[in-house]
């Protein structure tokens, strides 16, 4: 049984009374399996947040169906199993961090005492224990992001939905969030998060889905989606005299200067071997070599360009 099942979902919205109705999501199909970390990728304005709002019952489908734990997102009982962190972590400024997270724990079903204890644990896990008794008004964006994650996980949910959880965090913060997400998976929770920070996705996701301009383009395991093979090989040298440069120009796609060194781009290993022989003939010392394989970024760019007229 899928935790989330989206079939032919279409969402049209009318932002204001005087504005026209427009289609934000069109024929989106997606299934999220229990216990996985699913990365939902898309450029800005692709429809990631709209999809998430529909999963939470904040928006209603115009067409198609969406089910969470086999029930409707608008069903209050279904939301008992969900923890949610919004894209922009704005919270009531006058509350303290511990008070906000405690409220969410109580709404998740815990009594006052247990809620306070769980709130402390959640804030400790997200690195906010020292600021628990401070009002949210003085918090930085990164601190609010961590508090946002704390209130999402405080109820020990079976499904954690995070809208751009890495946004506004420094590299250490992103690492902490990744570790928390992996920890959630190890405890049996399913994690569904939207992002456009691709290295994070490559590090922790079991499966990914790409959405562009309201349409789901691809979904599956990274190893299945990203082509195998070699994109190019970069051979690094410190310098090239004029003779050597003329000799290698026929083999290389590009000669790029980076950090005071030269990177010679060739398309495959066969060409790279010919290039190395040529460089030896011209007494050019090879400093380094890098094999560049197709990446998630290549797939992301390709899908985005395909969808953009």
């Amino acid at each position: 049984m899928s935790v989330i099942s989206i079939k032919n979902l279409r969402v049209d919205i009318q932002p204001h009374f005087w504005s026209k109705r427009r289609t934000i999501l069109d024929n989106v199909c997606l299934d999220i399996e229990p216990g996985e970390i699913f990365g939902f990728l898309g450029p800005n304005g692709a429809g990631k947040t709209t999809t998430i709002k529909t999963l939470l019952g904040l928006l209603l489908p115009t067409a198609g169906s969406i089910s969470v734990f086999d029930g409707a997102p608008t069903d209050v009982a279904v939301r008992r199993h969900i923890g949610y962190m919004p894209e922009h972590a704005y919270f009531p400024e006058q509350l303290k961090a511990i008070e906000l997270v405690q409220v969410h724990a109580m709404l998740a079903g815990f009594d006052r005492t247990a809620a306070k204890r769980r709130a402390r644990e959640a804030l400790e896990l997200t690195g906010m224990a020292n600021a628990a008794n401070e009002r949210l008004r003085g918090f930085s964006k990164g601190m609010l992001q961590r508090v946002g994650l704390a209130q999402a996980i405080v109820g020990d949910p079976d499904l954690v939905i995070l809208d751009e959880p890495m946004s506004g965090l420094d590299p250490l913060g992103r690492r902490d969030i990744r570790e928390i997400m992996v920890g959630l998976r190890e405890r049996g929770s399913t994690v569904f998060f939207s992002t456009h920070i691709l290295p994070d996705v490559e590090m922790i996701c079991d499966r990914v889905g790409i959405i562009v301009a309201g349409k789901a383009r691809k979904a599956g395991k990274l190893s299945e989606l990203v082509e195998s093979g070699v994109t190019r090989i970069e051979v690094w040298v410190r310098s090239l005299d004029q003779d050597a440069r003329s000799a290698v120009s026929a083999l290389t796609q590009k000669i790029e200067e980076r950090g005071g060194q030269l990177a010679l781009h060739v398309p495959d290993t066969t060409t790279a071997n010919h290039l190395i022989d040529l460089l030896r003939q011209h007494s050019v010392e090879i400093h380094d070599m890098q094999v560049i394989r197709p990446s998630l970024e290549d797939l992301f760019v390709k899908e985005t360009q395909r969808a953009t007229p």
Binding site: K53, V76, Y90, E99, V103, H104, M106, L107, G109
Partner: protein
């Protein structure tokens, strides 16, 4: 039902804490106390009319300022939270929409009743310090001001469920103004009806839509140390509660159907 009530109380408690810590409340309370202080200065030069002036100003401040503060808190606590999306994590919880609205209402009303009581106490203490008796009608007037606050918060919340903060505030102020003129509108409508003018009937219909704040005012009796009509407070309370409950129910219905765009 039990879950809804529990959820409403949780939201209400959090809203109450936020409201008490809010700058709107602190600044407004400070301003109200200054008003009472100024009335004391004015009273010192009004021969034999000190208590009347103090009670008049104190109760007017409790009503007018109280209504404006209540409206501001309701709009900030609700419409702004929807616009800034701070409400979305709460709406994603297993909490019925109606419980969210009811909780916000309870929290704001609780904070405002504290403000009204404080303003009333400040007025009563000032009168007492002048050596005059505190009229019974003052407490009756404060009670009805508390009921007025229930109505104002319900109206402000209803508009907040429909539209952006600025418009919600504007519409609420409009209702407050009309509500304070309702009794005059009714008298005019009755006269027109007696003259057979159709517009009189239309106006009479409008009277029932807008709140009649004159039904919730005992300020004149309190200021002039007159006896409080026995059934007036009861009738006013019943009217205010009925109006507030109807408006709150409307707010819940509207919000239950609203999408979080």
């Amino acid at each position: 039902m039990k879950n809804s009530l529990r959820g409403a109380l949780i939201i209400g408690t959090a809203t109450f804490i936020e409201a008490l810590r809010s700058r709107i409340l602190v600044v407004s309370l400070f301003f109200a106390l200054i008003l009472v202080g100024l009335s004391v200065t004015a009273a010192s030069i009004s021969f034999g009319e000190q208590s009347r002036l103090i009670i008049d100003v104190g109760l007017a401040a409790a009503s007018a300022l109280g209504s404006l503060i209540a409206m501001s808190l309701a709009v900030v606590s609700f419409a702004s939270e929807l616009t800034r999306r701070t409400a979305y994590p709460l709406l994603a919880r297993p909490l019925p929409r109606g419980a969210f609205v009811a909780g916000k209402y309870l929290g704001i009303v609780a904070a405002m009743e504290v403000v009204v009581v404080l303003m009333g106490l400040a007025t009563a203490v000032t009168v007492w310090l002048f050596g005059d008796p505190v009229p019974t009608a003052l407490w009756g007037s404060l009670w009805l001001t508390g009921i007025e606050i229930l109505v104002v918060v319900a109206v402000a919340l209803m508009f907040s469920t429909m539209t952006v903060p600025v418009l919600a505030a504007t519409y609420t102020i409009g209702v407050l103004i009309v509500g304070n003129l309702s009794a005059d509108v009714l008298r005019y409508a009755v006269r027109l009806e007696q003259d057979g003018v159709l517009f009189g009937t239309v106006l009479h219909g409008f009277y029932f839509v807008f709140p009649d704040f004159e039904k919730l005012s005992l300020r004149s009796q309190a200021a002039n140390n007159l006896a409080m009509p026995a059934d007036f407070a009861m009738t006013g309370t019943g009217y205010g509660l009925a109006y507030a409950c109807t408006t709150l129910l409307l707010a819940i219905i509207i919000f239950s159907r609203r999408e979080a765009i």
